[in-house]
Amino acid sequence: MKGFDPKWRDVPHFIIGITKEIWEDREIGSLRRRYAPGLIVRSPASVVVDNTRVIAATMATLAEFPDRELPGEDVIWCEDPARSTEETDAFLSSHRLICWATHSRPGMYGAPTGKRVTYRILADCALRSDAIYDEWLVRDQAAIVRQMGFDVEDWTRDLIAREGGPQNCVQPMTPENDVAGPYDGRGNDNEWGARLADILGRIMAAEMDVIPKSYDRAANLHHPGGKDVFGRAEADQFWMGLRAAFPDAEFRIDHVIGRDDLLMPPRAAVRWSLWGKHAGWGRFGRPTGAQVYVMGITHAEFGPFGADGGPVIRNEFTLIDETAIWKQILLQTGQHE
């Protein structure tokens, strides 16, 4: 960890450690040095440039959810030799967090509901010189909104109004408003990353028969909306419903990491995207023709219980932000009224 504070042993220690210090221990001001100047944070909901706005957003979240805790569930990372220098090592970390909090104050989610919410976040961060300098983050907004007792589509419609209507509201991320950052790596060459990327690619090519071949019969699946389900039929339903809604969208694998670590099963982190028309019946109701961008991140852990004795996915964690998808659909169809 050349170029990093010597108190951090490795990338997971750094990522899990600073997350706790910033959010739980309230070192929010430390974002000024821990987030590099000009940092771009992309999430499906928005593209946020520069760290003063990140500090503002952090405070707004903690004002709304004062007791929020966010333990790291896993960090799947790779080296980034292209951006390592004499002064600093460089890495890309794909961080999976479980968050829980009470919705106790008014804020972005509306009047306080008093509800206790539990949800996951997947955050890809580029690191060097003891700081994060580029970021892609997917939060399970649908899980939050559902646990507060709202319908996802209705809540998104209200959000557009609360943000000042279609002209003034925050625009979801698309390739058209994305800002290129300094990190342009594609991950590492580990076999487990390649395996997960291949599975996702086949699913998106409608080769759905890859699911029984590549998932454990008892696979544990953690899907958007806070859905925890089991088995191949559920994997089929989720991926089918997503692809069916955007049947002609361009599918891209944007980043791939695989790892074999002591004490963890072989595992992978893949960031991917869909960009195209909402042209089919599926997860998002009646086709509207809206042009939609979906940023997704999938983490998978492999195990040995495949049909042919080969490795199969035992635990899958996939996040997309369904509120950002509905926002794009509602804004383009005029159904936001």
């Binding site: 899990i16 805790e69 569930e73 896993d74 019969r217 008892a218 088995g231 004490l263 195990g303 219980f305």
Partner: protein, 329 residues
């Protein structure tokens, strides 16, 4: 794998394979081959003897839940050809309540629960068994409450005098399997953790579990985070504060592709003399048969933290013992 059919590539393959063959592919008659004629099968609800009893109960279950699926989630095992293998097999079972049966009139509801079966096997035959299923998880997902369900069960069986008695050491019979597991460090580590918890050291969970640990408790309850896991263990212990805790079988494994993991069969034996997960203390003598699995990861002190925990005991069998004693039906 001496004496096992050569269709099985290893012991987990045998366990996963025969489970599918017997229960999902309806090879119920193969129990005549795969289960020993006089096998003792212990569950928290009682002791059954012989494969014909297993065949009868299998058919009753399939009749009530025809679409039942049994997904083998893990096989944690120990042993050898000479003394027999012991498989601690964790399954996820899902089904629709399609026909009338022990759970009452068909409700059309679906459930998903976990089961852990400890099976001893030798020469292609299962010859000794301990099984705990999440009975409370089924009852809750079918829209009932465990206490009320146990009451109705006792009534249906003819009242507290006549109702069949749940499993206790007094009705147990020594079976042919006499092993106690293995000496692998991950089994020892988890045995130490369960012993500390039962010694009321609930802080141990806060210090030695991953902060983001996920535990699957009875009642099909997913509990996330070490603090809530600690509370859930406390609520069990608190109902039986003076009960004796024993570990009966302990396996640790560090096999390729799977996280380091452990399987432990244990019991709590004593009286229901505290407030906790089972309401007002009744003084009822209670035996709790438990089987737990744990998986370890790198996030914890000295680079090790308990990351996944699967806890099985049978809430219905506990309520049944309490209600039979109290005569409260």
């Amino acid at each position: 794998m001496k004496g096992f059919s050569n269709r099985w590539k290893d012991f987990p393959d045998y366990i996963l394979g025969i489970t599918k063959e017997i229960w999902e592919d309806r090879g119920i008659a193969t129990l005549d081959h795969y289960y020993a004629r006089d096998i003792p099968v212990r569950t928290p609800m009682g002791l059954a003897r012989g494969n014909q009893a297993t065949i009868a109960s299998t058919m009753a279950t399939i009749s009530e839940f025809p679409d039942r699926q049994l997904y083998g989630e893990d096989v944690i095992w120990s042993g050898d050809d000479k003394d027999g293998y012991l498989s601690s097999h964790r399954l996820i079972t899902t089904a629709t309540h399609s026909h009338d049966g022990v759970f009452g009139p068909a409700s059309g509801r679906r459930f998903a629960i976990r089961v852990i079966a400890d099976c001893a096997a030798k020469e292609d035959v299962i010859f000794d068994e301990w099984l705990v299923r999440d009975y409370g998880g089924i009852v809750r997902q079918l829209g009932m409450e465990p206490r009320a369900y146990a009451q109705s069960l006792i009534r249906d069986e003819g009242g507290p005098e006549k109702a069949s008695k749940p499993f206790t050491p007094a009705i147990d019979e020594q079976g042919p399997y006499k092993g106690t597991g293995n000496d692998n460090q991950w089994g020892k580590r988890y045995a130490d953790t369960l012993t500390r918890i039962m010694d009321k050291d609930f802080t141990h969970i806060l210090t030695h579990y991953d902060r983001a640990a996920i535990a699957e408790f009875p009642g099909a309850r997913t509990v996330i985070g070490h603090r809530e896991i600690s509370e859930s263990w406390l609520r069990l212990r608190s109902a039986f504060p003076s009960a004796t805790f024993r570990i009966h079988h302990r396996i640790g494994m560090d096999a390729d592709m799977m996280p380091h993991r452990a399987a432990i069969r244990w019991s709590l034996d004593g009286t229901h003399d505290g407030w906790g997960a089972f309401g007002r203390p009744t003084g009822a003598p209670v035996h709790v048969m438990g089987i737990c699995h744990a998986e370890y990861g790198p996030y914890g002190p000295e680079g090790v933290g308990l990351r996944r925990e699967y806890i099985l005991y049978d809430e219905i069998a506990i309520w049944k013992q309490i209600l039979i004693h109290a005569g409260d039906i």
